[in-house]
């Protein structure tokens, strides 16, 4: 049990670390300007300063991947941030007033949003407010709110019946104080796990949206758009699709493994076994 838990956590952490490191490094250095069009380097084979070759615009694939990592993380952080900031308080309110009308309202609205596909919401936002990274992030974030609210509510319900919360209530502590002092710290581990999983979903969503032309605006590098631009060259230069595809797969795998690993690591029951 112990070995497996750690392997997933370590592998996930390493992959996520790699993505973060690449993104940070891209602020300081890339081999080439990732948006510079250079007709002389069109579809250049890998090698000689272009480790992964160049695309049909003569742009360095490696530099694009590096800056694309930045876009990916940016989207993930903001989308998950929006979802957590809105979803966690809503879920906690619902969990702390389980029989109130407010709880009922929150959870039913939640169900409503949950039933709406995130991609469709993002395409709608894009059509109304103009396609762009920010609209994509907000749409993905809003669509992820129910996931956080549900996890927060379920966890809060568990915490609310523990002895220390009952003691705090008996001692006359007010609800907001209980929420901050007792509930939030004890549901934190589950939220971190949820954040990690949602991060992976947000990355996929952004890639899909950019592929459809509703995400990051050209020429800002994005893995999804790199895939889309390589589509017409799929038969002649498949490597152009391979690298961004691999990057998306590894990043998503990394965040999923990290989420799984964290869950096992942070779960008090499993911790006791260790």
């Amino acid at each position: 049990m112990r070995g497996r838990t750690n392997a997933g956590l370590v592998a996930g952490g390493a992959l996520v670390g790699l993505v973060v490191l690449t993104a940070v490094a891209s602020f300081f250095w890339t081999p080439h300007d990732p948006t510079l069009v250079d007709a002389a380097q069109k579809l250049r084979e890998p090698g000689g300063g272009y480790p992964l070759g160049a695309d049909k615009f003569g742009r360095d694939t490696f530099s694009q991947l590096m800056v694309g990592a930045r876009t990916t993380l940016y989207v993930g952080v903001v989308a998950v941030g929006i979802a957590a900031v809105l979803g966690v308080p809503l879920g906690m309110i619902a969990g702390m007033t389980p029989r109130g009308w407010l709880s009922e309202l929150i959870m039913r609205v939640n169900d409503l949003v949950f039933a709406f596909p995130a991609l469709l919401l993002a395409v709608m936002f894009g059509a109304v407010y103009g396609a762009g990274t920010l609209t994509a992030m907000i749409a993905i974030g809003v669509a992820t709110v129910p996931a956080f609210a549900r996890v927060a509510r379920a966890a809060t319900l568990q915490v609310m019946v523990t002895d220390y919360v009952l003691a705090a209530r008996a001692a006359g502590r007010r609800r907001p104080a209980i929420a901050v002092r007792h509930v939030l710290p004890n549901i934190g581990s589950m939220l971190i796990v949820q954040a990690s999983v949602s991060f992976a979903i947000a990355i996929l969503a952004e890639a899909a949206l950019s592929f459809l032309g509703f995400g990051t605006r050209p020429p800002t590098p994005s893995w999804g758009r790199m895939l889309q631009e390589s589509q017409e060259l799929l038969f002649s230069t498949p490597r152009l699709a391979l690298w961004p595809g691999l990057a998306i797969a590894l990043a998503v795998l990394g965040f999923n493994l990290l989420g799984d690993g964290l869950r096992d690591y942070l779960d008090p029951k499993l911790r006791r076994i260790r």
């Binding site: 948006t35 510079l36 069009v37 007709a39 069109k42 049909k56 615009f57 003569g58 059509a127 103009g130 396609a131 762009g132 032309g213 605006r217 050209p218 020429p219 589509q231 017409e232 060259l233 799929l234 038969f235 002649s236």
Partner: protein, 497 residues
């Protein structure tokens, strides 16, 4: 599990039958007409079949010349040739056109085609048509029937554009008894008639058995509509269609490189891919800023990267197939230093709002990269096409730079309208166009050459490239129209060997 097996068997049987059917028709005895059909892939499906009231290039593309015919048509070289008119005479004052009509021409409904239908069709343009382009026939004063096979058209003033307009959809001949349901049931004199229309998928045209001219070699043609370029490519690779009418992803042509299976035809079009600059607001109300943009763009590199080097370079709003074409590509050679000098060391931030179409998105990235070299930062914003782009850029004029393929034939006149989204305002240009339309043919050519030069000198816009007509066909398909310089995709000669 067993049921699936049965269905697979049935499917296999169907395929085998289809294959046999194909073999039969291919090998039928000479003398009997071959029952052959072809499927051609297109990108945009018509909203309905009525090009008298609905804008959009897809309707005349499918129907004009194939189902509807005019008195004259444009041939592949861009010449006006007789169609339903055997010949025509122009009076000395160039205001009266006398058309001698072909006899024994029948509409697909069985009604004979006479001079009455000419009068009816052209009067109908004025009374019933709802398109902006109908103003091209405002020059017509009256249309009269002399006898059953002679029609006389009198103009208000001499016009060089008149006969050309007659070769477009404006000159299509309708039956007096066949206009009740134009959106669904076209009635024309052409070699094909509408067979069936599966909305969202395909239109089938069947050979017209009572066609007056040479009977078409095929018994039917299916126009299949695809929203996605890759899906259309795959359909040709797997045999779902026989022809791609217009390749939307030129880099993918390498898939069709095998000359034993496919033939790639590259022709020319009327489509000028224009980098439009908003002449009506800063910074591009300043001629120097516009000239700087033209000098800053390496057009050759742009065409090579954005559109796989397919197409041609032009320097003004005239394609090489028009009689007044002059090579203007040398007017603004690629010269970033000169561009910087024209900008006077200033830097600008501009909005490049483009339609979300493949050629525009690809070109915009090159333009942005090249403008950045001279100090112009362009933010690219792809807008959904057609609705949002038409609303924001075309109608409201809220843009600094945009990129769009202006496909209409002989469309230099759009620059004369200062309310058009270019916002270009030079009275001199309007005067040249007016005098060109009324002058002799030689005067027309001279005036229009001068007008094209004026546009280029003023840098009213930049012309990125001339859109190529890229057709891919299975080997053995013949009679494809190489150039897309008229409004229609001419199926008349299409055949399969």
């Amino acid at each position: 599990m067993r049921r699936i097996g049965i269905w697979i068997a049935v499917g296999g049987l169907l395929l085998a039958t289809a294959a046999c059917g194909g073999g039969d028709s291919g090998g039928s005895a000479s003398g009997t007409p071959k029952a052959q059909s072809l499927a051609v892939g297109f990108v945009a499906e018509p909203a309905n079949l009525d090009f008298t009231s609905t804008e959009g290039a897809a309707i005349p593309q499918a129907l004009l010349v194939n189902v509807y015919e005019g008195l004259v048509k444009l041939d592949q070289a861009g010449e006006i040739v007789p169609l339903l008119a055997e010949k025509w005479e122009v009076s000395d004052d160039r205001k009266t056109y006398t058309f001698k009509l072909r006899e024994n021409v029948k509409f697909s409904s069985g009604a004979p085609f006479t001079a009455d239908d000419v009068v009816f069709s052209l009067d109908r343009v004025k009374s019933d048509w709802k398109l902006k382009i109908k103003s091209q026939l405002d020059v017509v004063d009256k249309v009269e029937k002399k006898d059953d096979s002679t029609a006389v058209i009198t103009l208000k003033q001499p016009s060089n554009g008149f006969l050309y307009s007659m070769a477009t959809r404006l000159g299509a001949m309708f039956s007096r008894t066949g206009v009740s349901d134009l959106a669904n049931k076209p009635v024309g004199t052409g070699p094909y008639v509408l067979g069936s229309w599966r909305r969202g998928d395909s239109i089938q045209l069947d050979a017209n058995p009572s066609y007056w001219g040479t009977k078409p070699p095929l018994s039917s043609i299916t126009l299949k509509y695809f929203k996605d370029a890759t899906a259309m490519n795959n359909a040709l690779l797997t045999g779902g269609i026989d022809v791609i009418s217009s390749v939307q992803a030129p880099e993918s042509l390498q898939q069709f490189a095998d000359p034993n299976r496919f033939e790639v035809i590259e022709g020319t079009t009327n489509g000028e891919v224009v980098l439009s600059m908003n002449n009506g607001r800063p910074p591009f109300n300043d001629k120097k800023a516009r000239q700087a943009v033209r000098h800053a763009i390496d057009h050759k590199a742009l065409l090579d990267t954005a559109w796989a080097g397919r197409g041609g370079l032009i320097g003004s709003m005239v394609p090489p197939t028009d009689p007044w074409y002059e090579d203007r590509t040398g007017d603004y050679p690629y010269d970033p230093a000169k561009a910087k000098q024209l900008l006077g060391g200033k830097t600008y931030n501009v909005k490049m709002r483009i339609p979300n179409l493949p050629y525009a998105v690809a070109s915009a990235q090159v333009v942005k990269s090249q403008l950045a070299q001279v100090g112009i930062t362009a933010e690219i914003e792809p807008l959904e096409f057609p609705a949002r782009w038409l609303d924001q850029v075309f109608t409201k004029g809220d843009y600094d730079l945009s990129i769009i393929n202006h496909v209409e034939p002989r469309d230099m006149g759009i620059f004369a309208d200062k309310s058009y989204y270019f916002g270009y305002d030079n009275p001199e240009f309007g005067k040249l166009l007016a005098s060109a339309d009324q002058g002799t043919e030689q005067e027309q050519t001279d005036d229009l050459k001068q007008a094209a030069k004026l546009l280029s000198d003023d840098a009213a816009a930049d012309w990125l490239f001339l859109f190529p007509n890229l057709i891919v066909a299975k080997k053995g398909v013949t009679g494809l129209p190489e150039n897309a310089i008229s409004e229609s995709f001419d199926f008349t000669a299409l055949a399969k060997q």
